[in-house]
Symmetry: C2
Subunit: 438 residues, 2 copies
């Protein structure tokens, strides 16, 4: 079992082009998938429950006469939780409590505001939760209970009244840990449907499912295509690309730790990306040795080898300052700063989904139970977007309460600008409120 890892040096000619090529990832659009999803959505919109039942029976090899057969009662969720081994149940509960605690801070931060001007005019911003959200949870091999916690708890903390989880159950098989997580996270309804038909049912509503305001959560290419298409009718979260880790290391961390951190990203799938930046060539060689040594011990070594070979890299940099510059260009989903006094380097980072500081902060701790969300911006989108959070389940409304005195001064300004833009009704609407009609 051998593994060839790309090694780059920031001092070599053409380094920037090589790095750009390494990072390049373009989600391909599959016309067959697009067409199928368009048809399914159209059908669900037109025929509602009947279409959802048909597609689910066909794609998931189910045999239900109506929608009721796909619902999982709350008692079954609780039973799933009770049935878990104690250690697993407690781990889920500790994780949920910590995630809730972090997200409560987000809620506290965003309270809205209101202020009164000298003339009595009141201006403000009000924060309110969404009424109803849908959470998509994949079935099968990528069924992750941690993902249920990370998507549902922020919605619950935001104050969303109805949290509807859809999770396909191919052949009727359900994941007990996923159901247990739903019980802990305060999901209000669980329906075992999936694919584009589930996205359509949530977005448009049916006789048995009320339309939601937003759909979040990961899914396969059909689910991603369906979410893109219903965007606008409902809100959606980001369409996630492959997961990435970037490790900035000063060469003082046990190389086995760094190697395993790279593996923990690479084991997700063959498109995952694991990159280390380090100024110490000798240390890079030691990490490479650790990779060769540890790879055979990994059950998912096939995936790790493919992803590390195709998309991984060990990069020799000039110094840690340059490593920070490169990290800002990469804008990684997960950024580990595995170094002495990591804060000095964190202060130089402008773009990252989540930063893990110090050698004890392995990404895997954050993936499960530190508290911050593990749904993070991928593919350089951390330049302009944020981790999933309570704020994704809230929205703002502006509040404007102009006093009679305020209308006198503001009205003249508004009318002047409205006439300048050729919008006379705007101008007249402002002028009608003036005591002295112009």
């Amino acid at each position: 079992m051998t593994i060839q890892i790309r090694k780059l040096d920031s001092g070599e000619a053409g380094f920037n082009n090589k790095l750009t090529a390494l990072l390049a990832f373009e989600a391909s659009t599959d016309e067959a998938i697009e067409g199928a999803v368009a048809r399914i959505l159209h059908d669900v919109k037109a025929r509602g429950d009947a279409a959802v039942v048909e597609y689910t029976n066909r794609f998931d090899r189910r045999n239900e006469a109506g929608m009721a057969g796909f619902d999982i009662p709350q008692s079954e969720l609780q039973a799933a939780l009770d049935s878990l081994p104690a250690a697993q149940r407690e781990a889920l509960q500790v994780a949920a409590q910590r995630i809730r605690s972090f997200h409560e801070r987000q809620k506290q931060e965003l309270q809205g505001f209101s202020y009164t001007e000298p003339d009595g005019t009141v201006l403000g911003q009000r924060i309110t939760p969404l009424d109803r959200v849908g959470i998509y949870v994949p079935g099968g091999k990528a069924a992750y209970p941690s993902s249920v916690l990370m998507n549902a708890i922020p919605a619950q903390v935001a104050g969303v009244a109805e949290i509807i989880m859809v999770v396909p159950a191919p052949d009727g098989v359900k994941n007990q840990m996923v159901l247990a997580a739903a019980a802990i996270a305060g999901v209000t309804r669980v329906i075992t449907i999936g694919g584009a038909q589930a996205v359509g049912a949530l977005a448009y509503g049916t006789d048995t499912i009320q339309a939601v305001d937003k759909i979040v959560g990961p899914g396969n290419a059909y689910v991603a295509a369906a979410k893109r298409r219903v965007f606008g009718t409902v809100g959606i979260d980001m369409i996630a690309g492959p997961s990435e880790i970037l490790v900035l290391c000063d060469g003082t961390t046990d190389p086995d730790w760094v190697a395993m951190d790279l593996f923990s990203q690479a084991e997700h799938d063959e498109l995952a990306q694991a990159i280390m930046l380090c100024p110490d060539a000798a240390y890079i060689a030691r990490v490479e040795e650790s990779i060769h040594k540890l790879l055979p011990t990994m059950p998912r070594h096939e995936t790790i080898r493919t992803s590390m070979t195709d998309r991984g890299a060990l990069v020799k940099v000039r110094d840690m300052d340059e490593a920070c510059e490169i990290a800002n260009a990469i804008a990684a989903e997960h950024l580990e700063i595995s170094a002495e006094n990591p804060q000095q380097w964190a202060d130089k980072i402008r773009h990252a989904g989540a930063m893990f500081l110090g050698r004890f902060s392995s990404e895997s701790l954050g993936d499960y139970c530190c508290g911050p969300n593990h749904v993070l911006p991928t593919s350089r989108t951390a330049r302009f977007s944020s981790p999933l959070g309570v704020y994704d389940f809230q929205k703002r409304s502006s509040v404007i309460f102009v006093s009679e005195a305020g209308a006198q001064t503001l009205g003249k300004v508004a009318a002047e600008l409205a006439y300048g833009e050729g919008l006379q009704a705007h101008a007249r609407s402002a002028e009608l409120r003036l005591k002295q009609q112009p």
Copy 2:
């Protein structure tokens, strides 16, 4: 000049279906536009500046040899500001100052946080501005200086270092008020390019334009299609639908005022929507009279008549409580509560882009100079999205700094869950940090 306005009554049979039909608006996708935009974007990505120059010369009837010819120097922006009539210049400056002041409050509200747990683990959330944004400003008839202020000032307040405005100048004609607004709003560069080619240049970058992180601002169907396509490479704001106003009136406001408020929305374009809800049938008749009386005085009466006839409505409701319920279902972009003691009704509203309370708060004051943003969620998207704000030009990064002691407790929880999900490298990565190796 006559106008037929739809009148509905919430007590009549089929009211809900009529309301749904009235609100229905689906942005059509034009395959010819989609194809043209895909080709232009591909070309700009491949050939950069050369393609932008060619398209701009062709579509805008310009004749420039290179990109430099499209740039407007800062001195020309300042000259445009100086050249405005004093009243117009001062109105722009007052509006800008008020917009800045409101948006500073948004910035103050979002400061990030950090907290230390008993074992020394530090968790937090950091707020940073985007590096570089593009602002699209339409040329021609829809060139609105107020839109420049509303899009650029939040970016400036957020701390965005580079604000690049693109505004087409067909036949070389520039709008002085738009350039003056750019000077006031702190735009760092103005380029007279537009259409899909401008969106492509901003998203992908060229030799003379550095790629931005986000593109905001309104545009025609080509611009909207281009923004949708580059989403993911860069962030974008919402694709706006037609503008809407919903007036909740208790029947105590001068009917001319309400009629003119409805006109101020209807004059935007033929797809704009203006609806009033009122429990007082006699008052509704008075507003209708005002509409007939005032329409002929409006320079844009053609647009107003079409939009009010096709998409407007005067709705008799049972009482103001029912009006609030209906308003929540409509989730209007602009909601005027033109009533005595409007706060009692505002407290019942869950979904609205901006709320205008009391009879002096005409929407037009908010459009120009109250301070809150006039870029608001349309087409019922206020259920899940917010006015444009400083937060659209900032993003969050999670910060996780686990202590050695923290890694002992968190590591066991993470490993338990990771093994449960079949992700062994995640588990091992956590376990390697334990003092007592399992």
